[in-house]
């Protein structure tokens, strides 16, 4: 496989997974930035396990997922049903704490970072295939789980909470448990993804996990569409990949273009490009029902 394609595909998978990690809590209107801190915590932990303690990568990855989930669950006990503002502050807090801890920990390289993570599978080629395989297996698994969630009672409950939290509570929806579930799931995904992110680069550096990354994932969700998982799945590869082909003069204005795109989408199409209605139309079009309902491609688009 061409190397640029490997990096594009693997980083795109990371972006999809992390956008989904933000998408899940946002189903109950929580902007859960703790996920980026989870990436760093689990990533550095796994890197330390592999480099210093010679733990096999598979186990380190499992630890990464578990650690992310544990942190997410522990924090969600307090903020499972907290106002959005509190959840935002929690995220910022953990990002600051994580940076401070890592900066002061020589065992994980401190401010220099962690170098020379080994190849998994013995060779560079096998490393790439394994990482890519794990990433896309995760994309499929997580995507399927989110799809199941979205189409379940829990998913409908989350939608109700998003629209009107108080009304949802009066209908008997346990906001706290729902919030805890989503936050724990989101942090679990983020933890494992953080491990894989570092192993793509074979190194870890604090500046891999910054507020700018949070901003990028937010753009993916809001431009792609925050009401359905497909928004992130479609927007992540496009927003990451298309600028790579811009001429240098336009690439240098990439951030301005992202910002302008975000504003335009919020103003003109607040739900994002991929809306639930659009997804239902596609599903109907692709299924045999379209003939019965006389739905044409034009109607779908």
């Amino acid at each position: 496989m061409p190397l640029p394609l490997y990096y594009y595909l693997s980083i795109t998978a990371v972006n999809i997974l992390m956008s989904w990690a933000l998408y899940l809590p946002y189903r109950v209107a929580h902007l859960h930035f703790l996920t980026v801190a989870n990436m760093a915590i689990s990533g550095y932990t796994a890197g330390y396990l592999v480099m210093s303690l010679h733990v096999p990568f598979g186990w380190a990855l499992v630890v990464g997922f578990a650690l992310g989930g544990l942190i997410g669950w522990a924090v969600s006990i307090f903020i499972g049903d907290a106002p959005t503002f509190a959840v935002v502050i929690v995220g910022f807090t953990f990002i600051f704490i994580t940076r401070a801890v890592i900066q002061n920990l020589p065992a994980v390289g401190g401010p220099m970072g962690m170098f020379g993570l080994p190849n998994i599978g013995g060779s560079a080629a096998s490393h790439r295939w394994i990482i890519l395989g794990i990433l896309y297996a995760l994309v499929i698994l997580v995507g399927w789980l989110i799809h199941r969630f979205d189409n379940s009672r829990l998913g409908r409950a989350a939608s109700a909470v998003f629209v009107d939290a108080d009304l949802a509570a009066s209908l008997g929806i346990n906001r706290k448990r729902l919030g805890m579930l989503l936050q724990t799931a989101s942090c679990t995904i983020a933890g494992g993804t953080g491990v894989l992110y570092g192993f793509i680069y074979k190194s870890f550096h604090l500046d891999f996990f910054t507020f700018a990354l949070v901003g990028f994932f937010m753009i993916v969700i809001f431009v792609g569409g925050y009401a359905t998982q497909w928004g992130a799945a479609v927007a992540a590869p496009i927003l990451y990949g298309v600028p790579l082909f811009f001429p240098p003069e336009i690439q240098s204005w990439r951030i301005v273009i992202y910002g302008a795109l975000l504003i335009l989408v919020l103003v003109l199409k607040p739900e994002g490009f991929i809306t639930p209605r659009f997804v239902r139309s596609i599903e109907t079009f692709l299924s045999g029902d379209r003939k019965k309902r006389n739905i044409t491609l034009k109607e779908v688009v």
């Binding site: 935002v88 502050i89 910022f92 600051f96 901003g215 240098s252 951030i255 992202y258 910002g259 504003i263």
Partner: protein, 294 residues
Amino acid sequence: MQVFVAQLINGLSLGSIYVLLVTGFNLLLLVAMIIHFSYPQVVVFSMYIIWVVLQLTGNNLFLGIAAGVVSSICLNLLSAPLFQKVMRKRGEVDINSTMVLSLGIGMIITDVLSHTFNKGLPVAFPDQLASVTPLLRVGLISVQVGQVWSLGVGFVAVSAIFLILYRTRPGRAFRAIAEDPNGARLVGIPILRTGLASYALSGVLGGVTAVLLAMVLGSASPGLGEQVAHKVLAVSIIAGLGNLAGGLVVGLALGVLEAIVQGYISGTWSNAIAFVILLIVILARPRGLFGSKL
């Protein structure tokens, strides 16, 4: 004791920066129901405009300050229709839409500043505006002109905004159109004119804040807004959204806390410690220490 007093003054100086920014942030919340996460970036943009005008006019302070205020007003007025469009329900704070929109605005401002002004390098303000010569110095205790102004204006701004919003007709009109536009229209409040006036008021405060930051900090860089934006949001939430007096108290307290931690414990842990304390407060009192005014 001298060291403690010096650190206290440092903390109040830092806190006054937060107070100024949080007051503008809260003002936008009260008059427009928007969470303008990137309000600090708007202020930094005004700082750059001040710098440009000072460069072009041979350090004419009056023109520089006027340009800063005008640019802040213009930016606010330009962004007003965008915010109004994205809000799902008028009369309620839609944190998600407005915060995300302001994120986009902030990204554009920061990148434009790093592309176009002074080749992205920091800009330093002249001595007439940002002198390092202190007003008073006793041992380690040092008080600068900018610090006195920013603290003083911070108090005045909070009081003035409070009085305007809660004690004057225009202020009540601002709040009315923010809380219930339809109701405001019914009682004859001109929505467009009043709305624009409210954004302009916030712009004036933003411009004044830009001048004071220039005096206190002495320089500006493209990333300055992002560095403080998280703290401004945190202060507002901890104090209670829209709570002007609360913002004053918590802003100063955060500044003092950071100064004490940096001075007595560790610089690299100051943010983490400050945010942990803020986190504990918000978990204990989700509506803020002093209660939300929305």
